[in-house]
Symmetry: C2
């Protein structure tokens, strides 16, 4: 029995980053929340006392132009206007920006410059491989723009990942001028003890002045405890989502973070009255998006399988398409082998899809008989360095199958200048408005941008349920009760009829 | 900044009490789970390595005879048979047993004796007022039966409740021979720091050998952290519910407790493979009961209002019945005054209803112009001692309005022997089976027992959705879409018909 003594002399203020405008609805209902459902909460969010408000990122940008017919830059400017007193924060995929490939440095510069100009304050810059070289240029661009550059570590568990390794990575990010370090646990894998050890390791090594932000999802049910332990180890800011938009695959509830800290020697300094108003706002909004909601409540499977939920369902649907759904157990057994061969990349977008698809290929066609282009690229260094050595024989095979060479440099060093070409192509699109912001939209999402530009003038589209639909559902007397063709036997005046009913 | 050092030399085993068979379904869907939906999980529960399995209590007993047409004693015997290696645990309301009034000591003796005989191992004995005199006789009866007597402290927050007070109460329970102390946080009010302080206070005062069990609900979202802090302070056993039956107004997920402890210097010793089987079983069962489900996800309101959710909705419906729903704010402001006048009783059944109803009366008719019989009894000592002094003037008024005297003795000391009368009355009921168990059922639930005895032979009734209903709902093409007779005006070929449709 070793109770830990409390020796805190006066409350230390812990900052909170509110996630409701970005990661919360991304995790809970596929990033579908329309701007019109957020604006009325902004005044309270602005006044609540958050350290920052995360409100922009790859998925929100994508969803804006793909589903919501909203200009993501307009969304950013609106946030800036409605929350003048708040640090606006975004998630940036390093050299990938908000897209799915590496961009030339000039594109990175322009994107960061425009984001800063439109109102962004804090750039949380990460790379799925945790390769600092993929983060470095974006960080420099943020610093050049005079904004807060947050160097980010993606957390995963593997034989190649140790407390010491994470501490070392934090040092590399600090060396490139990071204003703070974010520790990003996107799969809710971070348990209390490693949370404590890693944060303490960074503080002990680089000094208590180094600001550490901790981001956890709540999927496995343990991470509020991890946030507490991170705070005890010295973390400065923790991420949370207002309670009505929390838990499941989302995040820990903001109000619970506030209450948790009472009398512990830490305090959030948040205004609970404002929080409750924000909560009520989104409590009323959330049901509109129920058709996009995930069913997950708590899931600790990932601790043993190491396979995130989204990756599993991807592999299942790939097998189903091949009529081989009975081979999922073989694929699940193959994943750790592929992961090891690839040098233990964290399994997040896009590495999770790349590893998962190759595992499916290996089971269906024999080990590495055929590699996907993306897996070959991963093995040949085109996504950056892996956390551990990659399998040299499989890398050789990848070179043979693709005719590509193995590289060890920063992948973006091989890219040609592309800005002028992007401008030229974007300029030809109907509806292009002539701004650099539109060029960036095209550069990031060349497949979606043309349609968006063409239809932008039609204005935002809300994909949630309407008030009338919600009311009808609540009353249970509704045309929506009949969601597909239903056959009834209907008797009228003694005569029976077969009647089929479906929504008009 | 004051990180707390880890100085644990080797893992200390933390016991876990599984709540899925009692409090989990009581909190999540009004105690409606039928025994047939539990039996198939019992082998895995029995083998998982729990410290105990809570499976019986007032609400399960009540629900068995009121809704499920199950004999609660038969349920207990079935659990005993199916889980031969497990400590079965029940929640006992001290001198109230499983009912809503104080019983004569002989009835208490017989109830405990029969429960032990039918298979109960651990008796968690509590009193809503935290008056040890209401617990003492039941505790003695448990010890006489050779079973585990767990003295219980109900946690609440009030000016009359301090860490020192809880530590003192634990001492009184130990003095009456408690084999362990349960700390029961039924409203999810227990924050991390008091959890640490109180557990540490008890261990420091009475020795580390004193076993402490901690029970928290999860409603406010903070209590898994509280369990961690309680463990760090020396708690021996924590309560949890398997993840598929966790969170909301329920409890923290069992698997999350296991994972949380990894490498912390503590370990649960639970078998995760078994846990996942238990989880899958109840994941499949839970949707059957969705019509009874609470909608609460996280709610921190109780920290500021001090009014539990159930109490609030009670008061609202009382006001509505009087056409005075607009006066809820006045009533909410009145509650703290009534609570103070009554000497700060914890607000749990039945004190929450008693205080709430009196607050409504005070607002509608003027302060204490008319007292409910129950509130007068509370003021006059008939529920036991209050945590703090009661208002003497209002107590005097209660005596005047009711003609009753203020008492300071143990309330049950005033009760006449009643066993023979209970036997006599029960014996006359159709369907009475002649056992002491049936007499107890009648004594505890005199209003419900007669109907139950009469219909018992019809066998258990499952109030959940059937598999066919669930399947139809899942497919969305369903006769269940029309849940009652609906009249349509249908026009076909220009002729209008009144048509009524209902499920075939």
């Amino acid at each position: 029995m070793s109770p830990r003594e409390i020796e805190v002399s006066e409350p230390r203020e812990i900052g909170v980053t509110e996630l409701v405008l970005r990661d919360a609805h991304q995790s809970l209902f596929a990033t579908r929340m329309a701007m019109e459902d957020m604006v009325d909460a902004c005044a309270d969010i602005d006044a609540a006392g958050y350290w920052s408000v995360e409100c922009w990122g790859g998925a929100t940008y994508d969803s804006c132009i793909r589903f919501l017919n909203e200009d993501p830059w307009e969304r950013l400017r609106t946030f800036r206007t409605l929350m003048p007193n708040t640090r606006l924060q975004m998630l940036l995929r390093g050299q990938n920006l908000l897209g799915y490939r590496h961009y030339n440095d000039e594109v990175v510069d322009r994107f960061v410059e425009k984001s800063a100009e439109n109102g962004m304050d804090v750039f949380r810059v990460f790379d799925a491989m945790n390769d600092p070289r993929n983060i470095e240029h974006a960080m420099a661009a943020v610093k050049k723009a005079g904004k807060h550059a947050q160097g980010t570590i993606c957390y995963t568990i593997s034989p190649a990942h140790t407390t010491e390794g994470y501490v070392k990575l934090a040092g590399q990010l600090l060396d490139m001028g990071a204003d703070s370090i974010a520790f990003k646990d996107m799969a809710a894998l971070l348990k209390p003890q490693p949370a404590y050890d890693i944060v303490k390791g960074i503080k002990d090594t680089y000094g208590t002045d180094v600001q550490i932000n901790v981001h956890c999802h709540s999927t496995t049910g343990v991470t509020l405890v991890s946030l507490m332990k991170a705070i005890e180890a010295g973390a400065d800011v923790v991420d949370a989502a207002i309670s009505s938009m929390s838990l499941g695959p989302g995040h820990n509830p903001t109000e619970s973070v506030v209450e948790m800290l009472e009398n512990t020697g830490y305090t959030s300094g948040l205004d609970m009255d404002r929080l409750l108003k924000i909560r009520d706002h989104f409590r009323d909004i959330r049901p509109k998006y129920r058709n996009f909601e995930s069913k997950t409540l708590v899931d600790t499977n990932i601790f043993s399988s190491q396979i995130p939920g989204g990756m599993l369902s991807n592999m299942e649907s790939q097998l189903r398409a091949q009529g081989a759904e009975d081979r999922i157990d073989e694929v699940m057994a193959e994943v750790p082998k592929v992961k090891e061969a690839a040098g233990y990349p964290p399994l997040v977008t896009p590495s999770s899809q790349i590893v998962g698809t190759q595992a499916v290929f290996n089971v269906l066609m024999g080990p590495y008989k055929r590699m996907t282009g993306e897996f070959a690229d991963l093995m040949l260094g085109y996504y950056g360095a892996s956390p551990a050595e990659r399998d040299a024989d499989i890398a050789k095979l990848a070179a043979e199958q693709t005719g590509k060479k193995l590289i060890t440099c920063r992948p973006a060093d091989l890219l040609e200048p592309e800005w002028d070409k992007q401008v030229e192509e974007a300029s030809k699109l109907p509806g292009f408005n002539g701004t650099d912001e539109d060029v960036l939209t095209y550069a990031l999402f060349p497949g979606v941008a043309p349609t968006f530009f063409e239809h932008r003038s039609e204005g935002p589209k809300n994909v949630g349920l309407s008030e009338a639909q919600l009311k009808a559902e609540a009353e249970g007397t509704t045309s929506a009760a009949v969601s597909g063709p239903i056959s009834y036997s209907v008797t009228v005046g003694g005569t029976s009829h077969e009647v089929t009913v479906e929504p008009a």
